[in-house]
Amino acid sequence: MSQRELPQHPDFLWTNPDPKKSYDVVIVGGGGHGLATAYNLAKHHGITNVAVLDKGWLAGGNMARNTTIIRSNYLWDESAAIYETSLKLWETMQEDLGYDVFFSQRGVLNLAHTMQDERDSVRRVEANRLNGVDAEWVTPQQVKELCPIININDDIRYPVMGGTYQPRAGIAKHDWVAWAYARRANEMGVDLIQNCEVTGFVMDGDRVVGVETNRGRINAGKVALAAAGYTSVLADMAGFRVPIQSHPLQALVSELHEIVHPTVVMSNHVHVYVSQAHKGELVMGAGVDAYNGYGQRGSFHVIEHQMAAAVELFPIFARAHLLRTWGGVVDVTLDASPVMGLTPVDQMYVNCGWGTGGFKAVPAAGLAYAHTIAHDEPHPLNRGYGLDRFVTGALIDEHGAAAVAH
């Protein structure tokens, strides 16, 4: 039984230049969102005099730490719109970027374990369908057919009562995605500057005109923040606040196993989010730790609880081995929806608060954010995601409506 080995990355990815004195747009944060934004600025808006700054290595934050689940079955219209746009872009990403990102549309199952889970699930499925998002309610037996290794018996504390299924959802290879954007952006003239930490902003009145970094001052026509959990730290330097809190979120992998898990399974009720990656490792996300933390590590008991739930649901996982755990920093808003739009500082833009949705949103966020930066006004996809919703109360409450995480 031979194992799938992924093909090699291209011979060349990107240059490592020193920063220039000035750029039309400086993007702070070289993760998926920053890179996709740079790509879209160059591709769709002809803005190529762009630098993407990262304080560490490119795509080394949540982009390197997430569990790569891609789906668009969100409840609210605004969410469905941006995530479904994203999913469609995922479907063409390989051709668009000329890089195999291993987007595997193996489907995502969201399990229901209580009657209220079931109500919420049906509500979401029906909303999804009317929003053009493929989704269906599946019975426990259908769950079993889609994922034969799931235990649907009554011998567990919270038996599977059914689930929702999005066939077009799936997973991808995160590094490949980031590097695909980085390579294309770099080819179109974008400078990718690593080990470059922003230490302050240069202001001209209410307008930002540059950034101070550990590699010197860089002048900027516009500054776009794409720093996820670090957005608060940057906004603080710029003198405004963003309504996000940064929390630890852990994930883990097993060693390589021959493929047993054909789809992606998520259970909010017992906190199991699991797929089997292309090479055979089981990839699992854990629940978010309750406290604020930038430490890129969480608490081990969170993982222990998750393992108990995982082994209950998937008896076959009992003898898999935990090989590596890690932590990311997720930036969450009170309504579990992102913030994307203008800021109180002229020519400065913000994109943060994606919580556990950041990876799957990369292509659409890049599209909408580039538009917002280029036109100094939101794209239709992010009109509802401005800071003003916190003032009017028009939240897009994916959290309150018992929607699913990850």
Partner: protein
């Protein structure tokens, strides 16, 4: 596959930590072999002349046992039997009688049969935790324990001793090494406060010296159960001494993965500990002095050894090179193994001279051999140190990353700290043991072992480490005669080579993290224990431009000689060193841990508590089906013989509407509230006023979040001027108490109000229906139950006919005449049975949550969590009457924001399917009739279809004789009379919007 079988050495006639009186039979890939008690699977294989294991994962290259420990990247097996366990390293698997294994090719196969073994967890608190029982760890534990501290010593092996097990002939503390181990062990085991845990690997190190360890207990696990096979230890330690040793590095050269290439220290371990000789004609390729010990023990065991030393000739007579020559060995200096002859097993090594730059300086010569022992230098095992964000520094002399800045309340000693001399390990370990004991408040009683009366400065100690380590000449990649790097394996498990690293730098990768991801080096099962530092070294070499041949040119922007790496200070370092490149991040677990061991006992019924009411046994006996509501098991419905759910619910509903029925309402949250300011406090928490609630009466109230969303609801009774009894929803009990406590403690400490949960002090029976009065009259003969004597929303303290004191309330959640009887919980079953008996003549019927839901829905009483989802205000529920316009309360300010005052909010209505038999799925979406366009429900619409609401609750109503539903609909009240389409499962059904309350709008029934 193994023509080389038995070609290699085999078991030596004497020596080793084996019980030769206890032969153990085992099977590998169907072949029966024999080893001894004390063997690992790997040592037994070596002793049987088998170095060859499975193939490599992708390139399918033959592979052999490389190491003798947890870092093994090649030798993986599945243990067959009742419960297959996959991907276990042969090097750490204790040999057991009947062990039956299958070799794996770098990848596991999961067994889908249930694992019936048991796994448990244990918490232990230690003043000092010592991890590792080599010389440094033993010395530390001995000292730490001497003053009475609670010491836990962890050893992942099944024997104490660490490196001493491979050095049995040396003298330690004036005795033989193994005698020393035995004496310290005896001393520790005699100390009452010391715990020695072998087979226990500390794999995780967390904040506050919280350690997680896995103990393997196959030796004690019993078939009958009760005794776990593996135990997860949660360790809380005051002080931690890390004495975890070091890993030897392989050397990266052409075909360095052929079976028969083995780490030099592993060779020594197999020979000394297990009397297993991996080869008889040995080429020993080293970059440092440590491997000369291997040469010595091989010679003693009868093997011939040719030493290939990468270092130039060291003229000193005391050098290891000279020593070896004096012992009769051939030592070739300034040389390297540049290739291997053989593919299934080593038959020879190509050896060539190398120059100062590491380039080949002559033709390769073939030396016939059956084993190539390699030592590329040592890498301190810093995983646990680094898991705590402990700092590392590259030490050029030691040629390794060593801990620099320490972790609070931790000590790093021995080889894990770059201390490679055994005597120095004893000194360093003992010092740490004493330091830890003192810091923990239990100063060691014994005096120093000597040598450290005056503790050296860090610099002096480092110099001592350097002297002991001797000279190391790191060879990050040995050039092959043909210039290729394609079989220079850096990470054997992932089949990654030096060529892959070269490609990575050529592609623009500068960070070791990028190289890791570009190649997949260090992502395999050994997590970089084998290849991590070699990769960093290689990267250093490539980015330094020293190896011009290895650096491709002509790539845009890729002048590698100009590559910039930043130091910690942010200054560019033109010449990267391993230190400036740095390591990848170390993460738990240090070694792999089975999921099931982490799950522990919390499986099945023990996964989560199932809370039950005192009448639970009655419900079970009467055939109830249960619903999970939070952690509670609540009766859902009580089917009788032949009834399905619909029939049972219809019968229960009929009983409640036409006769009498009773329900267990024990699960409702209950809070006692007292204080002079209790009315004021409640007045702020609830949206409706509570100041003037009379004693003896109850009031329904709604609580909102600060942002104005419905949070919980329930009835609160006023027991006295300053005493209230609040009820909450079943699911909301804990959060409401927390919510009240939070406001009371953090915002309004000046209010005299005190709260106590009494949820489980009371058991509650709801007696419901037109004939409930008659039942209550029988149960509570002292009570005036007349309409006038006991009004709605009143309560009475009374003594039941049984003599039990009770609080009876007239509350309804069905619209019918109804009572709730509250008694102390331990009378709950008795009173429940009494209700059943008293109601028998009225055909009283028990009902569950489903019937409760139907009855309340007919009256449009919302259920928090079903009609609400965190985005719904009381106004949205049509409950403006419960929201005070005058007083201040939590959430009020939010109602005046734009999103709450503008039209378009979803509001509660009922919707009636035109087809009276159609019960809409809860969650069905509602659209306007013309919204569909040409969408038929087949597939998906081409453009989003606007939704105006959704169904929150849907039932068949016995009372109405038809199906009905509650729904949240945009501007719902203005749509009454309109027809909408319900969309579900690709189908559509017409529904009519109605006012929410469908049954007994006037409320005539509540008084009976």
């Amino acid at each position: 596959m193994t023509q080389h079988q038995n070609h290699h050495g085999g078991r030596l006639e004497r020596g080793g930590r084996l019980d030769r009186d206890q032969p153990i039979g085992f099977t590998i890939d169907g072949t029966a072999l024999t080893g001894y008690a004390g063997d690992t699977l790997a040592s037994a294989l070596v002793a049987n002349g088998r170095l060859r294991v499975g193939d490599s994962i992708y390139l399918r290259r033959p592979r052999g046992v490389l190491s003798a420990g947890v870092e093994e990247p090649n030798a993986f097996v599945r243990v067959n039997g009742e419960h297959n366990e996959s991907m276990l390293p042969a090097t750490t698997l204790e040999l057991r009688d009947g062990l039956d294994v299958t070799l794996l090719d770098g990848i596991g196969v999961l067994d889908d049969r249930p694992d019936r073994n048991e796994y448990d967890k244990m918490h232990v608190h230690a003043d000092v935790a010592v991890i590792g029982s080599g010389p440094a760890g033993l010395a530390a534990a001995k000292e730490a324990a001497s003053g009475g501290a609670r010491v836990v010593l962890f050893e992942q092996d099944f024997e104490l001793g660490g490196s001493l097990l491979s050095d049995p002939t040396i003298t330690v503390a004036d005795q033989g090494a193994l005698d020393y181990v035995a004496s310290v062990r005896a001393e520790l085991e005699a100390a009452p406060e010391v715990t020695v845990l072998t087979r226990t690997c500390v794999f995780g190190s967390y904040d506050n010296n919280f350690l997680v360890a896995l103990e393997k207990r196959d030796d004690v696990a019993s078939a009958e159960g009760g005794v776990s096979r593996q135990r997860l230890w949660h360790v809380t330690a005051g002080q931690v001494v890390l004495a975890v040793g070091a890993f030897e590095r392989p050397i990266v050269f052409s075909d360095n993965d052929v079976p028969g290439v083995m780490l030099a220290s592993a060779v020594k371990t197999y020979v000394e500990r297990w009397a297993a000789l991996p080869g008889r004609d040995v080429v020993l390729f080293t970059t440092n002095d440590s491997a000369y010990e291997t040469a010595r023990c091989l010679t003693k065991a009868g093997a011939t050894v040719t030493v290939i030393d990468a270092r130039p000739e060291v003229k000193a007579a005391t050098s290891a090179q000279e020593g070896a020559r004096r012992a009769g060995l051939t030592v070739r200096t300034a040389s390297a193994v540049v290739g291997i002859e053989g593919s299934e097993g080593v038959t020879g090594a190509f050896v060539a001279s190398i120059d100062d730059a590491g380039q080949l300086a002559g033709d390769a010569e073939l030396i016939a051999c059956d084993l190539v022992a390699v030592s590329g230098g040592w890498t301190p095992n810093v995983s646990l140190h680094s898991q705590r964000q402990g700092q590392l520094a590259w030490d050029d002399v030691l040629s390794g990353f060593v801990p620099s800045a320490g972790v609070k309340n931790q000590f790093v000693v021995g080889a894990g700290n770059g201390t490679y001399d055994t005597d120095d390990c004893l000194i360093e370990g003992a010092r740490a043991g004493r330091g830890a004991a003192a810091a923990a408040g239990f100063p060691a009683s014994s005096s120093a072992d000597g040598g450290d009366a005056v503790a050296e400065s860090a610099e002096v100690w480092r110099a001592r480490q350097h002297r002991a380590a001797g000279t190391v000449r790191p060879l990050w990649a040995v050039p092959a005669p043909d210039g290729s790097l394609d079989t220079h394996f850096v990470d054997p498990h992932r089949d990654n080579t030096a060529a892959d690293v070269l490609r990575a730098t050529g592609a623009g990768m500068r960070s070791v993290e990028h190289v890791k991801r570009y190649t997949s080096i260090s992502t395999g099962i050994d997590q970089g224990k084998i290849g991590g530092v070699n990769t960093i070294g290689l990267l250093t070499q490539l980015l330094s431009g020293n190896d011009t041949k290895a650096i491709p040119s002509g790539q845009p922007g890729q002048d590698a000689a100009d590559a910039v790496e930043l130091t910690a200070s942010g200054q560019p370092a033109r010449r990267p060193t391993p230190g400036t490149i740095g390591t990848t991040t170390f993460r738990a677990p240090f070694t792999p841990v089975a999921f099931t061991a982490l799950a522990g006992r919390g499986r099945g019924a023990l996964f989560d508590a199932a809370r039950t009411s005192p009448a639970h046994s009655w419900h079970v006996e009467h055939g109830a089906r249960f619903e999970d509501v939070g952690q509670w098991k609540r009766p859902w419905f009580y089917p009788q013989e032949g009834e399905d759910m619909d029939a049972a619910v219809a019968r229960e509903c009929r009983a409640a509407r036409e006769g009498v029925a009773f329900m267990d309402a024990t699960t409702l949250g209950k809070i006692e509230i007292r204080g002079a300011d209790a009315p004021e406090f409640l007045n702020r928490m609830y949206t409706n006023p509570f100041l003037k609630l009379p004693v003896g009466k109850g009031r329904y109230g709604v609580m909102c979040t600060v942002s104005g969303m419905v949070f919980d609801d329930g009835v609160t009774l006023r027991l006295a001027d300053d005493r209230f009894f609040m009820t909450t929803t079943t699911g909301g009990a804990a959060k409401v108490l927390d919510w009240l406590e939070e406001w009371s403690q953090t915002e309004w400490p000046e209010l005299d109000v005190t709260l106590s949960s009494v949820t489980e002090q009371w058991s509650t029976v709801a007696v419901v229906g037109p004939r409930s009065r008659e039942v209550i009259a029988k149960l509570a003969p002292d009570l005036d139950v007349s309409k006038e004597g006991f009004g709605f929303m009143e309560f009475r303290e009374t003594t039941l006919a049984s003599g039990i004191d009770a609080r009876v309330c007239r509350i309804t959640f069905s619209g019918e005449l109804a009572y709730e009887i509250n008694v102390p919980r331990w009378y709950g079953l008795k009173v429940w049975e009494d209700v059943a008996a008293a109601g028998e003549e009225f055909d009283i019927t028990p009902y569950g949550t489903e019937t409760m839901h139907v009855l309340r829905a007919e009256k449009a009483f919302p259920i928090v969590g079903q009609e609400t989802d965190g985005t719904v205000t009381p106004h949205d529920l049509g409950m403006d009457w419960v929201v005070s316009k005058t007083k201040e309360f939590i959430g009020k300010r939010s109602f005046s924001r734009a999103a709450f005052t503008e039209p378009g909010r979803k509001q509660l209505v009922s919707v009636l399917p035109l087809d009276h038999t159609l019960r809409l799925p809860e969650g069905a979406q509602l659209v306007e009739p013309d919204a569909l366009g040409d969408y038929t429900g087949e597939g998906l619409p081409t453009a989003p279809i606007a939704m105006v609401g959704f169904v929150t609750s849907s039932y068949h109503s016995q009372a109405l004789g038809r199906s009905f539903a509650l729904a949240l609909v945009k501007d719902g009240p203005t749509r009454v009379g309109q027809t909408l389409l319900a969309s579900f499962g690709g189908k559509f059904a017409e529904v009519e919007v109605r006012e929410p309350v469908l049954y007994d709008k006037e409320g005539a029934r509540r008084d009976g």
